[in-house]
């Protein structure tokens, strides 16, 4: 049982990292830091709903730690960490509220929460309140990207692959 869980979580982490790395190769139309698709979030949503909070948190943390080592400079770690955790917490709450047909809502709100968490971390770390002017832009982009990833996650969950 324990081995099954370990293997499954490791596989999902690897999957999230692959998505994360592929995404870094996709050019972003708007050159604003933080605007991106967040494909790795599909794995998080999926895990929150099908595996539970503990495993989802482990996968999320492993992905963020390794991802910031692979793709970006370690300075970015703090931003993605705070964004990821805020998104995760919100999803835990939403998980009790939404039905199986409404999982995309989790994606949308999670995406917005991720970006908002990131901005607040950036404001605190760089102590530059001017960064708050990015709030509306990143909320809009987070919701749009979250709709996509949330729908992806919903289709995967409803197909019941690898329950």
């Amino acid at each position: 049982m324990k081995t099954v869980r370990l293997t499954r979580d490791a596989l999902l982490t690897a999957l999230a990292l692959i998505l994360f790395t592929i995404e870094a190769r996709i050019p972003v139309p708007v050159p604003i830091p933080g605007v991106k698709l967040g494909l790795a979030n599909i794995v998080t949503v999926w895990a929150v709903f099908l595996l539970g909070a503990k495993d989802a948190l482990l996968i999320l943390l492993a992905r963020i730690l390794l991802g910031s080592l692979f793709a970006a400079s370690p300075a970015v770690l703090l931003y993605s960490l705070s964004g990821g955790l805020l998104c995760f917490l919100l999803m835990l709450v939403l998980r009790r509220v939404v039905t199986a047909d409404q999982i995309w809502v989790c994606g949308v709100l999670g995406g917005a929460a991720h970006n908002i968490g990131q901005i607040f971390a950036a404001v605190l770390v760089t102590e530059t309140p001017a960064l708050l002017s990015f709030l509306p832009v990143l909320t809009v982009s987070g919701m749009a990207a979250g709709l996509f990833t949330g729908l992806c996650a919903q289709f995967l969950i409803r197909r019941g692959i690898w329950r």
């Binding site: 830091p33 793709a71 400079s73 039905t99 047909d101 760089t126 909320t139």
Partner: protein, 163 residues
């Protein structure tokens, strides 16, 4: 349990309120990065970037560029009083950014950060332009009506830049 229709309504309200809060500069971005000559050729568009606008702006309100590293303003320069292009290297704890100034506008021309998003953000020239950020380096360039750092810093930098 909310109905799907309620969720859609709720999210749409959130989305559009964020959309309304978007600073107008977001829609201009992209056209701003185009060469200044393009702006002069099209009288319908506000011809702000470029030297012509700098003259007009300087009489109304002087514009300054403030450069922050980790929240501390390390350099300020007047954009409206500038008459020649100049560039200098901003050395942060994490890496270097090549800052380029032209009359009335400023950009990061080159950087050694991993994603180089700061470079693709292009020129900024107005107060309501989103600040240029290089998150990996903790560097922010903002346009304001006041110089945050002593302007002597600019004068001290000037002799260095041509060499």
């Amino acid at each position: 349990m909310l109905k799907t229709r309620t969720w859609i309504l709720l999210l749409a309200v959130l989305f559009f309120s964020a959309l309304v809060c978007l600073p107008g500069s977001v829609w201009r971005r992209g056209t701003d990065t185009a060469p200044a000559a393009l702006g002069d050729a099209d009288p319908g568009r506000e011809a702000d970037p470029g030297g012509e606008a700098a003259g007009g702006v300087s009489s109304a309100a002087p514009l300054y560029a403030n450069l922050y590293m980790d929240g501390i303003c390390m350099w300020s320069g007047s954009l409206s009083r500038l008459d020649t292009a100049q560039r200098f290297i901003a050395e942060t704890r994490y890496g270097n950014n090549l800052v380029e100034l032209e009359p009335g506008r400023i950009r990061i021309a080159d950087a050694d950060c991993p994603d180089r998003l700061c470079v693709s953000q292009g020129w900024i020239s107005r107060i309501d332009d989103l600040p240029i950020v290089c998150l990996p380096h903790g560097l922010v360039i903002e346009i304001a009506e006041e110089a945050e750092a002593a302007e002597e810093a600019e004068a001290a930098d000037e002799p260095e830049t041509p060499s």
